[in-house]
């Protein structure tokens, strides 16, 4: 077929097929721990896509504009394939896309210079080094845990706030956080089986997903701590983040107001953390604030 002789087309097809195979094999062999997405899957592999594409396009003397345009297309193809074959969620892919585009473009320009020089030893060494980093990173142990804390001042006593902290009816205020507005589920309601330690608690999200929780500290009017015992199997979060524990602390300010502190502990399974933790913190913070602002409204009535 003539299309398979077209090197521009092959520059899109082959690198993406290789990338998909590498990720597929990596997941099949379950290298590292289950579900962990290592930093090199978002850094080294997109860069390799760019370099491989540049090899297919080296005879065309593409302008910088064309090279960037083709790299953006390549990034979109990689994202689409991740959606179709790797079961990644839409929000996840929106979060990852800046990394993909930046690294595919970087790879394309590295490749352009590499193949212009045509130093085969240097080129092979560089690509081997990238593959070596990928393998080493895949085999390395990846652990990252973090805690996010937020607070709001409520014009009410801890006694009045407490019952709204343990459980609350549906949140009716419109969302203000942009990720919630484009489809990321936001917290809607919390129910509880009893007002005591060991009771079950459910945090229900806007799309119907439920986080099952168990109260581990029930210090009335002061401290509500709960462990997340079951989280929904959603592609946006499955294998990427584990929410382990949540906590509400109430501090009486002695002037008729109370400081409500919300803490969450989570474990991240996507790397590099310098990038993904920015998102995890931002999302957790906005979950906190949506719930705590609702508690404030209910308590100040």
């Amino acid at each position: 077929m003539k299309i398979f002789e077209n090197k521009i087309f092959l520059g899109f097809l082959i690198p993406n097929a290789i990338l998909l195979s590498i990720i597929g094999i990596n997941r099949f062999l379950n290298v590292g721990s289950a579900g962990v997405i290592v930093f090199s899957e978002f850094v080294i592999l997109p860069m390799l896509i760019g370099i491989m594409s540049a090899w297919f396009w080296k005879d065309f003397k593409l302008s910088s504009k064309m090279l960037i345009w083709n790299s953006i297309l390549n990034g979109f193809i990689a994202i689409l394939l991740s959606f179709l074959f790797l079961g990644e969620g839409t929000i996840c892919l929106i979060i990852v896309s800046p990394l993909i585009f930046a690294f595919v473009i970087t790879g394309a320009f590295i490749g352009k210079v590499m193949f212009k020089k045509n130093n085969q030893t240097l080129n092979t060494s560089f690509i081997s080094l990238l593959m070596l980093i990928f393998i080493a990173d895949s085999l390395a142990d990846h652990r990252y845990e973090n805690m996010v804390s937020d607070e709001v001042i409520i014009k009410a006593t801890p006694e009045k706030i407490w019952k709204n902290v343990v459980a609350f009816d549906k949140i009716k205020q419109p969302n203000t956080y942009w990720l919630f507005n484009i489809g990321m589920p936001s917290p809607m309601q919390t129910t509880v089986t009893a007002y005591k330690k060991g009771a079950g608690r459910k945090c229900i999200f806007s799309n119907g997903y439920v986080f099952d929780e168990q109260i581990v500290t029930f210090d009335k009017n002061k401290n509500l701590t709960f462990d997340i015992v079951n989280q929904p199997k959603d592609p946006e979060i499955m294998g990427h983040i584990d929410i382990n524990r949540g906590q509400f602390l109430l501090q009486d300010n002695g002037n008729g107001t109370t400081t409500l502190i919300g803490n969450s502990w989570y474990k991240l399974h996507v790397f590099p953390t310098w990038y993904y933790d920015l998102w995890a913190e931002s999302i957790t913070r906005n979950v906190h604030l949506r719930v705590m602002d609702h508690i404030k409204v209910l308590s100040e009535k």
Partner: protein, 150 residues
Amino acid sequence: MFGFIVKYLNFLKRIPLFALIYDSCLKLLLFLTEPMKLTWFDEIENEVLNWEHTSISLHKFGGTQFNYRKTEIGHLHSNGILDILFTKKTKQRLLDEQKATSHHVFEKSGWISFYVRNEKDVENAIALLKLCYDLKLKAYSQNDIILARV
């Protein structure tokens, strides 16, 4: 933004590939906001590559580096800053003639900076690179003569 990063976040350049990735982000930004500049940068690159014994490589702090044999002529960052190393005497002459400014970081060195902001600047950028290229060519030829005498 570029100035802020160079001045306050200079340590980031030690992270492998950081400068290249940052430069790619600048390219992407240009692609979205001022795509003509990418065409001008290509014109500069193509012109330099027409000169004998020239090549390009990736500059260690991001951008395209122009080389004569194994020495650097200059480098063009993707925000349009062209940096070239001259002798201090030549630099002073270029500053006096207002053909360049002092380097955006190393002000006291022989490095000059030239900002490619419009189409007219392309010619001036090429002229500055040609000046440096000719000086290197001359130095190389003189070196060759000396070696031949030895």
